[in-house]
């Protein structure tokens, strides 16, 4: 677990450093994600990590545990944010309607386009 945590923290630290050096509008952890992905694909060429077996490694198990508990990580920020919930109310029902309506539309359009393009490709290659 500690080896895996070390890998994750090193990638995050490298990501934070890199985005500050090159002034990219990407958050440090996302850059860290890309660095780890690049590292994993690089390591796969030497057979160190394989997509089929990474789940059984220390890194695979620690990542799965962390992502399985992803929900709790939003609780501290969420508890701070609900204290400002009045900000939504001050604009009446309009913002509530915009949030619900836009979230429904976004979910529907994104899933429909994904499935639609998937079908087009499958049909073209069939």
């Amino acid at each position: 677990m500690l080896k895996a945590l070390g890998i994750l923290l090193v990638c995050q630290l490298a990501g934070e450093t890199l985005v500050r050096l090159v002034h990219w509008p990407v958050p440090g952890p996302v850059m860290g994600l890309m660095l780890l992905a690049a590292g994993l694909f690089g390591a796969a060429r030497f057979g160190w990590f394989l997509p089929e077996t990474i789940g059984e490694t220390d890194l695979g198990r620690t990542s799965a545990a962390l992502l399985g508990a992803l929900g709790i990580l939003f609780v501290p920020a969420g508890a701070g944010v609900v204290q400002h919930f009045g900000l939504i109310m001050s604009h009446g029902a309009a913002l509530g309607l915009a949030l619900v309506g836009s979230t429904v539309l976004t979910l529907v359009v994104t899933a429909a386009v994904f499935v639609g393009v998937r079908r087009l490709i499958d049909k073209a290659s069939a």
């Binding site: 945590l5 994750l8 990638c11 995050q12 990501g15 509008p25 958050p27 952890p29 860290g32 994600l33 780890l36 992905a37 994993l40 997509p51 089929e52 990474i54 620690t62 990542s63 799965a64 962390l66 992502l67 399985g68 508990a69 992803l70 929900g71 709790i72 990580l73 939003f74 609780v75 501290p76 920020a77 969420g78 508890a79 701070g80 944010v81 609900v82 400002h84 900000l87 939504i88 604009h91 309009a94 913002l95 309607l97 915009a98 949030l99 309506g101 836009s102 979230t103 976004t106 979910l107 529907v108 359009v109 994104t110 899933a111 386009v113 994904f114 499935v115 639609g116 393009v117 490709i121």
Partner: protein, 239 residues
């Protein structure tokens, strides 16, 4: 420690108490979600936030004091984001196979998220500064606040709208996709990650690892896409 009040004064000022409260609130919320057989409306993130916020209000605890304990949990968001690379790697074949659907869905979804939110709110006469704060509501909180601030919005309002959108999408995803008969976990995950960032991704991982993987990818891609699209949409409106 002669009386309970002194004990409370001591404990409430240490990080230990509020860290423990955060973990126990989550365990309770997750237990409720499991007892409901993971019914999509019983969202553990929403319940845990309600429990913690309720306790803070009840005890009159300032948020800053709470965060001194809760920051240890909050900190793990960074390593967890990096860890998303692992399921992307282990499902890389499925990811590569769906490259085109992802690009198309990203563009369509990101524009829908921005335009529909602005459109509905503007129809009700919501002022411009609030529209700017609303536009990046589907983007992960830190970046959404940056986008909003850059355009003259109110970051605190954006944060509220982002968290609310996250919970709304996580709750609506499964029933909505069942109605639409979308069964592909990749499509489901990508939609909820794009619409509802990390909170949607957390929900997707509890349903299916492939859905979680695509949700994580959609969250990252939408953050980058929206950083360009939100200012572009407002330039278009102004022009």
């Amino acid at each position: 420690m002669e009386n309970p009040f002194q004990l409370w004064v001591y404990l409430s000022a240490t990080p230990l108490l509020w860290l423990t409260v955060t973990v126990l609130a989550w365990l309770a919320a997750d237990w409720i979600a499991r007892a409901s057989n993971r019914h999509p409306l019983v969202n553990p993130v929403m319940i845990a936030i309600a429990i913690v916020a309720g306790l803070l209000a009840l005890t009159g605890t300032p948020y800053r004091l709470y965060f001194e304990g809760a920051q240890f949990v909050h900190f793990l968001l960074g390593p967890a984001t990096v860890a998303l690379a692992v399921p992307m790697f282990s499902h890389s074949r499925t990811v590569r196979r769906n490259l085109l659907p992802m690009i198309a869905a990203l563009l369509a979804g990101a524009l829908t998220a921005i335009a529909s939110a602005i459109g509905i709110a503007a129809a009700f006469g919501v002022p411009h500064q609030v529209l700017v704060s609303l536009a990046p509501k589907s983007v992960t909180a830190a970046i959404a606040m940056g986008i909003s601030e850059g355009l003259g919005g109110e970051p605190a309002l954006t944060a509220v709208l982002v968290i609310t959108t996250g919970i709304l999408g996580a709750v609506m995803m499964t029933p909505l996709m069942n109605v639409l008969k979308v069964r592909d976990p990749a499509a489901r995950g990508f939609a909820v990650g794009l619409a509802s960032h990390g909170i949607g991704t957390a929900q997707a991982f509890t349903v299916d690892p492939v859905a979680g993987t695509f949700a994580g990818i959609a969250m990252g891609l939408n953050a980058v896409a929206s950083a360009f699209l939100v200012p572009a949409v407002f330039r278009l409106i102004a022009g």
